[in-house]
């Protein structure tokens, strides 16, 4: 989705529905510099340290609700927002790099759309409707291949938003534990797979 399309789409949304306190979603280029070609690799960087975060409080609210629909809490791990995914997304879309700037355009427009669409369909903003109603909206746009052509851009937004949300989620310690990843620890030797497992798979 290019910038022109996005703006067209936003104008249409604005015309139909008031945006209820959402900050302007016009994409502004980040003015901060990147971390350069020789950053300190040993430091722990928190979102907001290298360049200012830029989501409004309202955008963060919607982002949290949507992220938790994509990665909800279950028996394996907490929800996306509980492990800091919203701040990570804010860091991502605020970054001064071309890929992230492109995502910024898509994601800010998408957050606006989903809230406005919720108002249009259910008469209440996205964070105020029932979970079932939120899922109805998501079901419309969760699959780019099968989405109604009228929802195509929203489906592309959802696809990318899911990618960034899940990418952030599985980058955290909780996400690694959820996948039962047990590496990244020093070992004195590296054992072969258990013989029993290899036998079960017909490999020994």
């Amino acid at each position: 989705m290019d910038r022109r399309t996005t703006i067209k789409w936003l104008i249409a949304a604005r015309a139909a529905w008031p945006l209820r306190g959402l900050a302007s979603v016009a994409s502004r280029p980040a003015s901060a510099a990147g971390y350069g070609t020789d950053p300190d690799l040993l430091r722990h960087y928190a979102p907001g340290e290298l360049w200012p975060l830029s989501l409004s409080a309202r955008q963060r609210e919607i982002a949290a609700v949507l992220s938790d629909l994509i990665m909800p809490a279950d028996e394996g791990s907490p929800s996306a927002s509980a492990v800091g995914v919203v701040s990570f997304i804010d860091e991502w879309i605020s970054a001064p790099y071309p890929e992230q700037q492109q995502d910024r355009t898509v994601i800010l427009a998408g957050l606006t759309w989903i809230d406005a669409e919720s108002v249009r369909v259910f008469g209440r903003p996205f964070d105020a409707v029932a979970p079932d109603e939120r899922r109805q909206l998501c079901d419309r746009v969760c699959d780019v291949a099968s989405a109604d052509p009228a929802d195509a851009e929203a489906a592309h937004f959802f696809d990318r938003y899911r990618e960034v949300t899940a990418g952030a989620f599985y980058s955290t310690p909780e996400g690694r534990r959820d996948l039962n990843y047990i590496g990244n620890v020093p070992l004195t030797s590296f054992p072969p797979p258990p013989l029993e497992l290899l036998r079960r798979l017909g490999l020994a």
């Binding site: 971390y35 990570f88 099968s146 070992l187």
Partner: protein, 599 residues
Amino acid sequence: MPFVTPESMQAHYDVIVVGSGAGGGQAAYTLSMEGARVLMLEAGRRYVPETETPMFQTPDEAPLFGEGTPDKPFGFYDATVDGGWQVPGEPYVSDEPAPLGFTWWRARMLGGRTNHWGRISLRNGPYDFKPFMRDGHGFDWPIAYEDLAPYYDKVEMLVGIYGSNEGLENTPDSPPGCLLPPPAPLVSDYMIRKHATALGIPTIPAHRAVLTTKLDATNIPARLHPGNPAAQHILATAMRERGACLWATACGRGCSVRANYQSPTVHLPPALATGRLDIGTDAMVYEVTLGPDGKARGVSFIDRRTGRQHTLRARAVVLAASACESARILLNSKSAQFPNGLANSSGLVGRYLMDTVGSTVEAQIPRLESLPPLNEDGADGHALYMPWWLYGEQKAGRLPFARGYHVELGGGRRLPGFGTPSSMQWLSPGGYGTKLKQDFRRYYGSFVSFTGRGEMIPNERSYCEIDPTVKDRWGIPVLRFHWDWSDHERLQAAHMQRTFADIVEAMGGRLRRPIETDGAKAISQGGSIIHEVGGALMGSDAGRSVTNAWGQTWDVANLFVADGAVFASNADKNPTLTIMALAWRTADHMLERMRRKEL
């Protein structure tokens, strides 16, 4: 003596080595360990892997989860400093944009690209030195496998390479005591090996420069430096200081315990300990200076910290700045005697650039789903690979391309990161919510990849020259690249795709995307595999090559090239091990000539 500035450099050295990577590191090591006084000049900054390497850092600690950016194209934790596909202030020109034009990865740091490389360390085989003799394409080297074999032995013992001897065609065995034990294969490796073997494809332990055990510091030093007890003592100490692999944290970040090969942790510490090696960093060499006697007098460089020009003298000069950068220095070293660039009377400097053919297939294997949690970090890189196996088919004319490829295997339960879910999402179209989390748990660790790495035949259309107008931030003219694959490479890439799909099918797997049977689409961008070699080919005829069999330029007796530029062919075997073996051989030759007062 170790790290020097232009002010503290000596007026005169035996040898100036330009570059500090695989070729420069090896040349400086051999020369200084055997008595020569050496100055190494590196364009980038000093780099200390022991204190700078992000060992065990996880994606959540990095900006943008460690994902690549224009500042750090291979990810935040990649070891590369001040480099990538572009270096600020140091442009290059390609005759065509991506994906057709040549792309050039550079680093500006001590040790160069040895800090982040894949550590894959394969010997060229006997066929690889005489390709023209075998099939009439390309060029033969002026040396045979037997000439380089003793140096492969030495390099393997010095840097530490894991692998095994399998006695396969054109896939040389190493003598006893050279190789370290290979790491255990992963579950996915076992499965690939089973099905590939049934298809007639050999799957054997990979060769990588990672210490699966500590080096034999008791016996190796005497084998590498016979009759030189001082060198033996220094090397034994350096070997004991290197730790064995911790079986965690990616090699591409570098290694603070020095368990893998990077020049600053392997070649340079013993060389510095001799007291005969000076290293000047931030020194951008732009010219080899020529004396009235037609010999190289030394080099001129720009101190990147001050912008000032300096000129130094030496008895001999070794260029090991990387294939293209060495060609650039030669082409920019113009004089009345060499108006087209130094050592370029043949007109062949910059010609016959080669990269490696690359093509990859990814797949998901249902039988690998939901396996019990295992630590599969291993030695980070692949444990098994497939050497080229169709020499007979090629000889019989049953394949439409002349040269082979090997296959590097991927799989296992790797450290999750930003890209992990998007690599699985295609199996859960439209998925979100609890179901998506469950799907990811099921699919994580069930993926395999096949990465083909094949030989490119040198051609007239792939070369670099000096751009007539563009200069870098110091006013040094930059390279302009021209690139074209031939059908030999394109058809080879298509063959990779079909072969990998066959293996996936035999495993009952699912391809992530349809294979690409059009070779022009299946093949990687020129330069993108970062195996660029050629540009100052060695040969047996002064009119048809730039250097002789010793890397000595035909035109200038005390000027040597000791990096990938001298490669007369680019076998499917990754070039680094061969660069080191050639550099050691060149340095031995230089030492012999210096002893005879011929240099």
